[in-house]
Amino acid sequence: MASSSSSEGEGRRAWVPLASRPEFAGVTPLPQDDGPSPVVAIAYRDDFRETMDYFRSLYSSRELSPRSLLLTSLAISVNPANYTVWHFRRQVLEALGADWTEELEFTEGVAKRNAKNYQLWHHRRWVAEKLGPDAASRELEFTRKIFCLDAKNYHAWSHRQWVLQALGGWEDELDYCAQLLEEDVFNNSAWNQRYFVITKSPSLGGLNAMRDSEVDYAIEAIHANPENESPWRYLRGLYNDENEAWLNDSRVHSACLRVLKAKRNFKFALSTLLDLLGLGFKPNQEIKDAITSLRTSDLGEAGSDSDLANSICSILGLEDPMRANYWTWRKQQASSSS
């Protein structure tokens, strides 16, 4: 099961065995101690095995040298998920006094092929921290590039949030969120980031100050695509613990009403009204009528449900059958509390 060729699919230069390289003269490769009858034994490629044998040698002797740095680069290229290698690399960088900007370039190379690798992002965070606030714009730009390829990369979003909080650069963030949502209003990561910005950005005044305009923003998105779960959750989140304010913001129940009247994609509208009712919301006749008119014939007359919450749960049980059990449970909750 051997192949010494490293050119398969990786685009690297032709592999020169480490044993032939002068920079590693005198290093005795240390084979992996898999034991006499290994399990989940990987049939390593020759270049992989040799690289890791050399790594083990320098790692176990704790050699913090330029050739160790080189070796960690090689080891990372054969397996970017090897956290021990990254850890050792950090030790080497600190001992040698690294050029942190060069190190960022190194990680960029790794990221091209492995944008979803934990170790890469953790390392990048560590390097950026060394550079401090000066690194902020480069980090924001870097994550932007990642988002062009995958606008929901979880690691990249966490990194971006860390950069903003640790290094700054908030100024354009709300605009960036708006841009992403312009491109894809269903991008829940962008909605999450928007929430992060309006609550945490030092230049925006916090949730209370932002709430009003954000409610309008969310409702506009809702009406464009009522089936889009993101703005519904965002809207709810704007009122997180402020139940009174949520109940009393007429824009919220008006938005629900408008969606109900359109008679399509109304499950989130009904669900929102159900939540509101649970908190003591008193709907007007128009809302009651809109709900009632959604009842299909198999539900019987409205009078068979004791109240509006019950009615909503019945409708949702049919409209959203995947969650039939959940709506039944909500119905029980509603009746036990009334």
Partner: protein, 489 residues
């Protein structure tokens, strides 16, 4: 024009609903090519549309099969899965180099899957596994991704769970508990969270792997549990789900980890459970499987992360649906579970089992008083041991039969193994979590922790039944119990 063809999906309905009418002969022509996605759509909509088309094709094809073929399609391909798994245990192709720092994980994914399928591992192989994992154990404590690698919380979790799944005193005693305890303490952070490894990342996964291991090894103390709840609470987002770090997006994997951890340290009531429940139930989509985040694609592995979270949640809140609804219990959570089920009802259920598959144990294990584990501190108690005994009363929070349908028809590969979704390749991770999700489904309506499910709770033939798991740790229940006794002293 709305994306989504929910109306055309027929998922396996509730109890006893038989499927399609018998046809004269199966239509075997290839389905017509799908129409292109509508114009003016976003990336999210297009990607979602593509998956719905693919999944819809599978379900439509299934729907028109004659009953015998349908039955076969829904069968867990036990032998082929076992072969796929066992081969992996022995050796792996060069492409697995990318998992060279996760070999205890590969062990766990395979060993746990085999255990779920009720397939024992031969003694020699077991020896080799114990030996290998011992070589992954760091002299100062914890397990790394391979021999000589830095100890890491995730691989420690995987190694410990593997050894518990193997069972037996040789396996269990190979774990150096004191050293593991040391390692956990070293990883503990002032914020309450844990680092994954020396100088590593801090997130909710780290909390879960640390606390789960501490719990199963009976070394969970106040020092380890301190402020973990604060950290996890700060990770519950405005959406209701839990993120990896404060501020990040609500995500299924982290939601399971966060929820399970809070239960283990007895602080689950600090979470906003109704918002959490609302978020997680909406993660099951028209495809019948679960997505990891809002507006993202279905993936078989979330059958466990999200399905498992639902299973945990329904043990916390009485769902009392099958008996026409019970009052929401105002009693303390502990009391709800010891309510004795009607013995004659139990007998009736046992008589209804169609065919006893080997792993079905007809007796319901009633707890005999509380477990007293002297080495556990007063505060943390033994939430884990108590918790698995809780009964999910009546119906399940999520749509169990739909999820089983997704797992069996879309994730399962007849030649062995499970995958994320159609179009993706099989792997051991997805095999593990699809099977784990499947057992969660099968037992989701069981009145007691490991009492055998009713025939209609199991989609496909009753022989599909897997071993029950401990829902907090995701190890086979009987193995968990053995380990719990072993480490109690």
């Amino acid at each position: 024009m709305p994306i989504g063809i929910a109306a055309s999906f027929r998922f396996a309905g509730p109890r006893k609903e038989k499927k399609k009418k018998k046809l004269g002969g199966a239509r075997m022509e290839p389905p017509p090519p799908p129409p292109p996605p509508p114009l003016g759509t976003t990336v999210t909509q297009r990607d979602q549309w593509t998956v719905e088309q693919e999944v819809g094709r599978i379900y439509s094809f299934f729907a028109q099969l004659p009953p015998a073929a349908q039955s076969f399609a829904l069968e867990v391909q036990r032998d082929n899965h076992i072969e796929y798994l066992t081969r992996g245990l022995r050796g792996l192709a060069p492409s697995f180099g990318s998992l060279d720092a996760s070999r205890p994980w590969i062990c766990y994914w395979i060993i746990h899957s085999l255990a779920l399928l009720g397939e024992p591992i031969d003694a020699e192989l077991e020896e080799s596994i114990i030996d290998f994992l011992s070589r992954c154990q760091d002299p100062s404590g914890g397990y790394g991704g391979g021999p000589g690698q830095l100890p890491h919380l995730a691989t420690t979790y995987a190694a410990v769970n593997s050894l518990i799944t193997l069972g037996g005193s040789r396996s269990l005693s190979s774990i150096n508990r004191d050293k593991v305890h040391n390692f956990l303490r070293q990883m503990k952070q002032p914020s309450g969270g844990f680092r994954m490894h020396d100088g590593g990342e801090i997130d909710v996964r780290a909390c879960y792997t640390a606390i789960s291991v501490a719990s199963t090894l009976n070394i969970l103390d106040d020092e380890l549990a301190e402020k973990v709840g604060d950290f996890i609470l700060s990770c519950q987002t405005y959406e209701g789900g839990i993120a990896g770090e404060p501020g990040s997006e609500a995500h299924g994997g982290y939601t399971f980890c966060g929820l399970a951890t809070m239960i283990l340290i007895n602080e689950v009531d600090r979470l906003d459970l109704s918002r959490l429940i609302d978020w997680v139930v909406f993660r099951q989509g028209v495809e019948c499987g679960f997505q990891g985040r809002v507006n993202k694609l279905v993936d078989g592995c979330y059958s466990f992360w999200q399905g498992g979270a639902c299973a945990l949640l329904q043990k916390l809140h009485p769902f009392g649906l099958s008996e026409g609804g019970e009052d929401e219990s105002t009693d303390s959570i502990d009391s709800s579970l010891y309510a004795a089920s009607n013995v004659s009802e139990q007998e009736e259920q046992e008589n209804n089992l169609e065919s006893a598959s080997p792993q079905v144990d007809g007796t319901c294990q009633f707890k005999q008083g509380g477990p007293q584990s002297a080495s556990c501190s007063e505060n943390t108690g033994n939430a884990s041991y108590n918790f698995h005994e809780r009964c999910a009363e009546g119906g399940s929070l999520f749509n169990s039969s739909a999820l089983q349908q997704y797992i069996l028809l879309c994730s399962q590969l007849p030649e062995g193994g499970f995958r994320d979704k159609p179009g993706k390749f099989r792997d051991f991770y997805h095999t593990c979590y699809c099977l784990s999700g499947l057992t969660v489904c099968q037992y989701s309506r069981s009145k007691h922790a490991d009492s055998p499910p009713l025939p209609w709770d199991v989609v496909g033939p009753y022989s599909n039944l897997l071993e029950p798991i401990h829902p907090l740790h995701n190890v086979v229940l009987s193995k968990y119990q053995e380990a719990n006794e072993f480490f109690a002293g």
